[in-house]
């Protein structure tokens, strides 16, 4: 596990080997910039095992990197997305 420091990286990075290469769905979404709106987004891809933990006291707020996306919103241009742990469902369970 590596620790990122500074205001631009207020998280701890890590790697979960058990998740590497696992197929997963992400029921994701995010707020829309400077509006009161948000949008739901759905992704399917492969977990790299990389994660980021944000601290809010108690258990960490963990985010996994979902890559090699085979399903993503039509307008989503990236090849990977960070998904909050609870938004993920492993497909091979």
């Amino acid at each position: 596990m590596t620790t990122e420091q500074g205001p631009d990286a207020p998280f701890v990075s890590g790697f979960n080997a058990d998740y590497r290469g696992r197929r997963a769905e992400c029921e994701g979404g995010a707020p829309i910039a400077e509006t009161k709106y948000a949008g739901r987004q759905f992704f399917v891809g492969t977990l790299t095992g990389d994660y980021r933990d944000f601290n809010f006291g108690g258990s960490p707020w963990r985010w996994y990197l979902l890559a090699e996306l085979t399903q993503k919103p039509e307008a989503y241009s990236r090849d990977a997305v960070w998904c909050e742990e609870e938004s993920l469902t492993l497909m091979d369970n």
Binding site: A30, G39, R40, F43, E74, E85
Partner: protein, 368 residues
């Protein structure tokens, strides 16, 4: 017959009626709480110190009654780019189409650059800064409008806060129930803004089936604007209703007057589930912007947040110059029943009265 409106939610919150107003207007929140309902103030777009000021403002006006704050926790994020980088990514074809719309409908330029241009990011760090204030102020109820609140439950419960989660699928509900949330808001496709794909009548009983064994109340959300809706969702097993569009055109609402008038005119079919405003699919009231982007000559809708950057001038211009013919707002299909500009207290009492009439009718049918 015992009071059919006195539900588990009323017990947990110490409220008279199982009606929750989700609103971005502090005055609406205070009016609903002081009339015997409950209110959750949406603060997703505000910086931390603004949220703190709002919390204190509400407390001064409701005494020791409970209230809630809603934030939109992200559930997935892409890497950030600067506003300049994003602006440069908008294709000329899309820019030209935006200009065509503005010329065709004589859309005025905004008086000032939309807030979007001072966007500071929507990543996890911003959400955590907002949350910190909600926890420092020990707000009685925190509601997560999108992502899972699992990571904050331990801290919230340790300081006596309740945590609610809004879901669009039974799978999300099960995860949040297992995590230990105190209330689930089951939001159907009829709702305003971002919604799931399942209709309110279908998702509510599914989530109730999952939650009731754990004694967790479920709120029905999406298209609920009448006492008949309230009675129906209680019959489905819900402990109350989460209402948003219902309050948009209330006397206390801080929306501008022409927009309220537009909302009062809207039918259910005047709401559109489209991605042309922001790049995300969301339900909003139909306006010329929708009509043009749904037309055969429209270019492809851009990804979020580029489409929002494209539409923001149109939206802000329509508000700045009070152009009712151009305005749009997030609203659910229940907007059909929002036809009068009434005080929030009266809206609440009308719904309660109508719901009680429904139950009385069933009770008298039984007696016959």
């Amino acid at each position: 017959m015992s009071d059919p409106l006195h539900t588990l939610l009323c017990e947990k919150l110490g409220i008279e009626y199982p009606i929750v107003a989700f609103t971005h207007c502090k005055d609406v929140a205070v009016a609903v709480i002081n009339a015997g309902g409950f209110a959750v103030l949406g603060e997703a777009m505000h910086p931390p110190e603004h949220i703190r000021a709002d919390i204190r403002w509400i407390r001064e006006r409701i005494g020791d009654k409970k209230f809630g704050i809603d934030l939109v926790l992200p559930a997935s994020v892409e890497e950030e780019r600067t506003v300049e980088e994003l602006m440069a990514m908008i294709p000329k074809e899309s820019r030209d189409f935006e200009q065509q719309i503005k010329a065709k409908y004589d859309v005025p330029d905004p008086k000032e650059a939309p807030d979007l241009y001072t966007w500071g990011g929507l990543d996890q760090a911003r959400a955590l800064a907002q949350l910190e204030v909600v926890f420092e102020e020990n707000v009685p109820v925190f509601a997560s409008g999108l992502g899972s609140p699992k990571f904050l439950l331990e801290r919230a419960h340790a300081q006596g806060m309740m945590v609610w989660g809004l879901v669009g699928t039974p799978r999300q509900a099960q995860k949040q129930i297992d995590a230990g949330v105190d209330c689930i808001i089951a939001q159907g496709f009829d709702a305003a803004g971002h919604t799931g794909q399942i209709g309110t009548l279908s998702i509510v009983p599914q989530v109730v089936d999952l939650a009731e064994q754990r004694g967790i109340p479920v709120l029905a959300a999406g298209g609920i604007t009448t006492g008949r809706h309230l009675a129906a969702t209680l019959a489905l097993g819900a402990s109350g209703v989460w209402t948003g569009s219902l309050w948009l055109a209330s006397r206390e609402s801080d929306l501008n007057q022409p927009l309220k008038e537009r909302l009062l005119e809207c039918e259910a079919t005047d709401t559109v589930y489209s991605n042309c405003i922001s790049g995300y699919t969301m339900r909003t009231t139909r306006c010329p912007w929708h009509d043009e982007w749904l037309g055969p000559d429209a270019p492809p809708v851009l990804k979020a947040p580029l489409q929002m950057m494209l539409s923001s001038d149109y939206i802000q211009g329509s508000l700045d110059y009070q152009r009712k013919d151009l305005m749009t707002e997030a609203a659910g299909q229940g907007i059909h029943y929002v036809t009068e500009m009434k005080p929030a207290r009266q809206i609440l009492s009308d719904i309660v009265e109508e719901a009680l009439d429904v139950f009385d009718r069933f009770a008298s049918d039984d007696d016959d």
